[in-house]
């Protein structure tokens, strides 16, 4: 234990937090790989969306490589807002305000669920599938893995909220809340990048 305490005095961060940040770094690299695939596909394509690659059969089947920007734009706002609310919750527990933290967690959890619902609804409105050219493949892979991470974040928040309801966090001890918030910001930032490249630079 002496070694451990000795080390912990050097900086404010705990081992768990450092480990968590390293885990997030590996997540960044995972998404980096998928983003690279997307950029290479776009660089290769004669035009984007690559309508020219559609076969006559696919066109006859009603495949359209189009994205509607309104709903995802609203979703983006929801996710950014949820990042703010969870960070607000962290600031509250840092001051020892358990009720404030709980509100922050509840609202973020609800916003996360709304985001996921909106994304699933958005999937039903699209006129292309994952096997319809590289456009569909990259779109569903990128948004799908992001959505899975949102779902993971929602579960994370659910666990942290349950622990918060049990009164496990205090001004001094609230590392799980901070880690959860950090993960949620990561998911948020990935989405902002995705929204930008998939929808805005269309």
């Amino acid at each position: 234990m002496t070694a451990l305490q000795h080390a912990a005095e050097r900086t404010g961060m705990s081992n768990g937090m450092l480990g968590f940040i390293l885990f997030l770094a590996s997540e960044v690299m995972f998404f980096g790989g998928l983003f690279a695939a997307y950029f290479i596909a776009r660089a290769d394509a004669p035009a984007w969306p690559p309508e020219v690659l559609l076969s006559p059969q696919q066109i006859a089947d009603g495949v359209k490589l189009e994205l509607e920007v309104l709903l995802p734009a609203v979703s983006t706002g929801i996710l950014v807002l949820s990042s703010i609310t969870i960070q607000w919750g962290v600031w509250q527990i840092q001051k020892g305000n358990q009720a404030g933290m709980l509100w922050g967690l509840f609202i973020s959890l609800a916003l996360g669920l709304i985001f996921l619902t909106a994304q699933l609804y958005d999937y039903t409105q699209l006129h292309f599938r994952a096997d319809d050219t590289i456009f569909g493949t990259t779109f569903y892979t990128l948004t799908g893995f992001h959505g899975a991470h949102v779902a993971g974040g929602v579960i994370f928040m659910f666990v942290v909220t349950a622990r918060a309801l049990g009164g496990q966090f205090s001004a001094r001890n609230h590392e799980a809340v901070e880690a959860c918030s950090m993960y949620w910001h990561f998911v948020d930032v990935v989405w902002i990048a995705l929204f930008t490249i998939l929808y805005l630079i269309g």
Partner: protein, 536 residues
């Protein structure tokens, strides 16, 4: 060292349950070693099948389909189930001991890292019993070949993703352990060199392995859900696979060699009775290899015509520089030393000489025009085996002979060890040196059959003979291990007069590792303790 006998009271877990549920870094390290050495044997048997098939021209020993599965699974077992996790095994056991910690930073995550391996190993090898057989697109799984094979390929993909997950969380664990749990007085530049190599390896694993996971996910989607990532018909790009795959798999060759360099750099100073020559230069060279390792992946793709040849050729030459620095570190350590030749030292010297050849023949292929001639020939097979067998495997055995007394409290027999080394050294060179000539003569890798008229028969026969000599060399090793286990645990804390903290505790160490730690005022705390602080 005085120990207090604590009477065992209450419930005693059965030994099997104890091993399955353990979170002790030492027991997990031993589990890693057992697991990886098992797959070393499996991969070795597959290698013997490969060599038997290639021993003579127009061979019909195994069919073409079986041959494809065998060489694919040979490489997959050796790389993913042996070399990469074996360093996690040594690291698990010795990183906490060398930095004077009681355990890893996250013991339960450590157990998770290990227990992801057996399901992955089973999944990968279960391919042999499913329809269509095991993965057979080579360990590199290039598209479009990897799209066209059976369900064994999907099992391989999932297994490698599992192994990657194990590797990634293990890397985070090693990093936090070394950054945060060093003994009082152990600054970063007093950390043992094996730990430094594990640190850089962990960084590479943390940042490169997820990219492989992304690549494998894409391949899985292409195979199973109609994805078009690697299919030009749908706007995909075949070379994309090579880019994302090698973005991991080139740093991965440093993941496979750096800890081996670390072990050799522990062994050489101990048996030369000198400190490592140029400790800081070695650390910076290790960091340099790690950094440059991310900028050379496309040298595997020179002949695709879609990479910037001068850049990647130049960077590949550059990475030879820190590697060369290390050769001088080792030679400088030996220079003027009071050298003795116990078995770990022999394997360490074997490493230095064989890895040097592997470095030089690798630099050949860094030259773009030369690579165009050598690409996908047996020259490349020779290169990778001089690095991974002449390098990594020799380092594994150096580590096993060196640390066996610490882990199990018994020494391996010296005569058997020397016989093992002599046979392995001779067999290794017999097996792999002829591959240089075969490659220059144009023999492509991965072919199952070659015609009599090629004239490759004689060298291939020599190579096959060498492979069997390597197999025979394992017999004295196994006898030495079995013999050692029949003997009492009689080893003192420090049988070799070592330099680093693992020799400050009993052999084997108690569950809590240390009753007390010597002061750490240099990178050789045990040397200081033996000779007094003024000895520098």
């Amino acid at each position: 060292m005085a120990t207090v006998a604590v009477p065992h009271t209450g419930y005693q877990r059965p030994a099997v349950l104890d091993w399955i549920t353990t979170v002790d870094h030492k027991k997990l390290g031993i589990l890693y070693l057992y697991f990886t050495l098992f797959f070393f044997a499996v991969g070795g048997i597959l290698a013997l099948l490969v060599r038997t098939q290639l021993a003579v021209a127009d061979s019909g020993f195994v069919g073409n389909d079986a041959y494809n599965q065998i060489f694919t699974m040979h490489a997959s077992a050796m790389l993913f189930l042996f070399i990469i996790p074996v360093w996690a095994g040594f690291g698990n056991y010795f990183v906490p001991l060398q930095i004077g910690a009681a355990d890893m930073a996250f013991p339960r995550i450590n157990a998770l890292s290990f227990w992801l391996l057996p399901p992955a190993g089973i999944l990968m090898f279960a391919g042999f019993v499913v329809d269509g057989g095991a993965a057979d697109a080579g360990w590199t799984a290039y598209s479009p070949l990897a799209q066209q094979t059976g369900v064994g390929m999907d099992m391989w993909i999932l297994a490698v993703i599992l192994l990657g997950a194990s590797s990634t969380i293990g890397a985070a664990n090693f990093l936090v352990t070394m950054l945060r749990m060093r003994a009082p007085g152990m600054t970063m530049f007093r950390m043992p060199i094996f730990c430094w190599t594990m640190l850089v390896t962990a960084l590479l694993q943390l940042l490169a392995t997820p990219v492989l996971a992304a690549a494998l996910v894409m391949l899985f989607i292409d195979r199973n859900f109609g994805g078009q990532f690697f299919d030009p018909n749908g706007g995909g790009n075949v070379v994309l696979w090579q880019n994302v795959f090698w973005f991991y798999s080139h740093p991965a060759v440093y993941i496979m060699i750096l800890p081996g360099m670390g072990i050799v750099s522990e062994v050489l100073p101990v048996f030369s009775r000198k400190p490592l020559f140029g400790y800081k230069a070695f650390v910076f060279a290790t960091i340099g290899i790690g950094g440059l390792g991310f900028s050379v992946w496309a040298h595997h793709m020179f002949t695709t015509g879609s990479v910037l040849l001068p850049f990647f050729g130049f960077m590949t030459f550059m990475i030879g520089v820190p590697t060369g620095v290390k050769i001088f570190n080792w030679l400088g350590t030996l220079w003027g030393g009071s050298i003795s030749f116990p078995t770990p030292m022999l394997f360490a010297l074997g490493f230095v000489s064989m890895f040097l050849i592997g470095g030089i023949n690798g630099t050949f292929s860094a030259a773009v025009p030369v690579d165009f001639a050598l690409h996908d020939t047996y020259f490349v097979v020779a290169h990778i085996h001089y690095v991974l067998f002449g390098g990594s495997v020799f380092a594994v055995f150096a580590g096993l002979y060196y640390w066996f007394p610490k882990i199990w409290g018994r020494k391996l027999n010296e005569r058997l060890g020397k016989l093992h080394f002599a046979l392995m050294f001779a067999g290794f060179n017999l097996a792999f040196f002829p591959m240089h000539m075969l490659g220059l003569d144009g023999m492509p890798r991965r072919i199952a059959v070659y015609a009599e008229s090629t004239g490759w028969g004689a060298l291939n026969l020599v190579s096959t003979l060498g492979a069997f000599v390597i197999a025979v060399s394992m017999i004295p090793f196994l006898i030495a291990v079995i013999w050692a286990f029949t003997r009492p645990q009689d080893q003192p804390a420090d049988p070799w007069e070592g330099n680093t903290l693992e020799w400050a505790t009993s052999s084997p160490p108690p569950v809590h590792n240390f009753d007390s730690l010597p002061p750490v005022r240099s990178e050789r705390p045990l040397f200081d303790a033996r000779h007094g602080d003024g000895a520098h």
